[in-house]
Symmetry: C2
Subunit: 410 residues, 2 copies
């Protein structure tokens, strides 16, 4: 089925907030085999909301609208629906009762929240048991789903209600689609493109190229009426892609670089520690976003000041004086001493200049040393990165994690 997503909110058209919900919805729908005709973002203006809604209802199979359902005075979606689709707001008494019972008194609060119980005529509340705005409306045979703008609420309603409803209509229809996302590090986009250009020439498969921070992601999509053909073609192309990308391919789909590093460490029963100077906790943070990382990550030190490098990581004062904090010698000392202290088999360290200040002619902003302790040996590598402070921190973090991955694979 083909759908359209409309996100509503002045906070979005004025660029104050990134629209993460539409992205999430698009991804889930795409993975379920649907196509997104277009995604729109419009302000809290009932007239524009109505126009976009009517246009979408006329040309696609389903519409998802997010935002503008809240209790504050700038939430105008229901008003727009009432006007544009001629469906006046009516009081949903069951919903009102529920809001009242959940509030335990507090009449001032209630006045604001009562607004949530007024829905357009014909609206069916998506979730009878949870305290979230969200309803479905079938207008001129086209289902329209209205979800709140609060990301986690919209996501929950989408996954628990919207996707199952859409899927129940489309089972056994349309093409069989298989899709995989290949995630690479260490090569620029055009080099990845060249490695895969022959595979792409086969026009039964579709490849997309997406630089993401310093990674390049490649999507493979195979679609065919015959499920057997889809699968055979997918398997064959998958092998070719893996061969062409080699070690630059670190994972697929939802895998993260930190998650992949963790998988390899756990398989080898190794523990990791991290000593960070210029990345200031980013590497550890990416690691601990992975659920279950405690089984392969001990922790480490954010050695931002030289004093912390000395007292927490036993970096000798004279070493800092002789070579500077940003040096291969200090990177090595940080890694080996952290491993020794924590008893970790693997330790990684970074020390560098993320900018915007702190650079010199000899060591400009972007100069980074990464130290690696493994198999009782320590080494360091010098990198020169470019970009803003956050970009340099991000690529340093990623390069450090990738160094661990490549070393573990050897």
């Amino acid at each position: 089925m083909i759908g359209e997503i409309i996100a509503i909110g002045d906070e979005l058209t004025s660029g104050r907030i990134a629209n993460t919900t539409s992205v999430f919805a698009a991804r889930q729908l795409f993975l379920a085999g649907h196509e997104i005709y277009a995604m729109h973002t419009i302000g809290d203006t009932p007239k524009l909301i109505g126009e976009a809604l009517k246009r979408a209802i006329n040309r696609v199979d389903f519409v998802i609208v997010t935002g503008g359902l809240g209790s504050t005075t700038d939430d105008l979606t229901n008003e727009a629906v009432a006007d544009a689709l001629d469906r006046p707001a009516t009081l949903n008494k069951a919903l009102l009762e529920k809001i009242r019972s959940q509030l335990q008194g507090g009449t001032t609060q209630l006045r604001g929240l009562e607004k949530l119980a007024w829905l357009p005529e014909g609206a069916e509340v998506l979730n009878a048991d949870e305290r979230m705005a969200g309803y479905m409306l079938v207008h001129e045979s086209t289902p329209v789903f209205f979800l709140p703008g609060v990301p986690f609420q919209a996501r929950k309603l989408l996954v628990d209600y919207v996707l199952p409803i859409i899927s129940s209509w489309t089972e056994n229809s349309g093409k069989h689609i298989l899709m995989r996302l290949y995630k690479t590090v260490g090569l620029p986009e055009y080099a990845i493109n060249q490695r895969l250009s022959r595979i792409e020439a086969d026009n039964q498969v579709n490849l997309g190229y997406y630089p993401v921070d310093s990674e390049v992601h490649v999507s493979l999509t195979v679609a065919n009426q015959d499920g057997g053909v889809t699968e055979e073609l997918f398997t064959r192309t998958d092998q070719k892609i893996r061969q062409a990308l080699g070690r630059h391919l670190y994972g697929t789909d939802q895998e993260t670089l930190a998650g992949v590093v963790g998988k390899i460490l756990r398989k080898n029963a190794l523990m990791l520690s991290v000593a960070e100077s210029c990345t200031g906790g980013l590497i550890s943070s990416q690691i601990t976003k992975v659920a279950g990382s405690s089984s392969w990550f001990n922790g480490g030190v954010v050695a931002y000041s030289n004093h912390v490098k000395e007292i927490m990581l036993d970096v000798e004062h004279q070493l800092l004086v002789d070579h500077g904090a940003v040096s291969g010698q200090v990177a090595q000392a940080m890694a080996v001493n952290l491993a020794r202290r924590t008893g970790s088999e693997v330790a990684i360290s970074v020390t560098g200049i993320a900018g915007p200040g702190g650079g010199s002619a000899e060591k400009p902003v972007g100069t980074v040393y990464i130290g690696l302790f493994m198999n009782n040996e320590v080494s360091d590598t010098l990198y020169t990165f470019a970009g803003s402070r956050e970009e340099i921190q991000a690529i340093t973090s990623q390069t450090a994690l990738n160094s661990v991955r490549l070393a573990l694979l050897t």
Copy 2:
């Protein structure tokens, strides 16, 4: 002026990548006094690109298109422009020469990149000196800016070329606009709304409410033909808002919670250290995103395992056995011992259960203790947060930073 933004790429409509460039563009344009009629995201389909482009050209004053200008085979924007606007691709010889001279040989590379020198008829290259795709085209009196999909390139071209060009057309026209974003922590959206509802009733000013993670941001926009009236109204409303929000207001516009904490610390010549268990480096990472944070942040320990809590933070083994790692006693020990070791005047610690595993009936997922050492005294507070692993880590990190802010203000 009123504009429209069109972002192109299958990676966007399939939800694989969030469209950060449109958000950035919308924000910059809004702050420069322009209005965004709508933002659209469409796939790499020349027909759809052409339709969206023609519709936008007919109804707004300027159009910004991002994406699809690269060298890979799925970049189809120029093709779409050629068809939809009847402007065939023509070779820009100066551009080709530049690409050639920058490549230093490498004919295989060149073949891929030569594509970048073919632009729609009438296109003017935005930046003669840099190696970035990007051009302007005036079609039926409407300027259309084509920018690359790579975020940092699009941002640079937008700030350096597009905004100055648009501003040069609009100087001294239109309304005088003043805008400020108020960032709050610790109150839900409806409570903020209630505090500000009287101010909002004054319909010469516009307030918007935006929950962002666990913060609520409030925008104030004042627009008037008379610059004096705008300023007077803005100043008066600003005072009222600050009074109504009190200590829940931590900063405005581009300020971050970590940046505000840093400002107060620096003013008081205090140094901060952080000991993190369940946030795993996130607090330190948010702190070190702030440029110049080395003048108020020493660093700290990511004490993920109990072993690291013992050896790096001197948490007594018996304390961990008696109370568990997730306890007020351990949070206090982490904070006070870290301060002692690093010599920091202020130290914050967190220990908790971010989930999805690790919870129990007594200490469910979301149980978090935050320890605070300041003025040679240590305290701890118990919180019970809800959400996914990443959400619990995010709100813990924010609550910890806010605890430091509130304590410093007292």
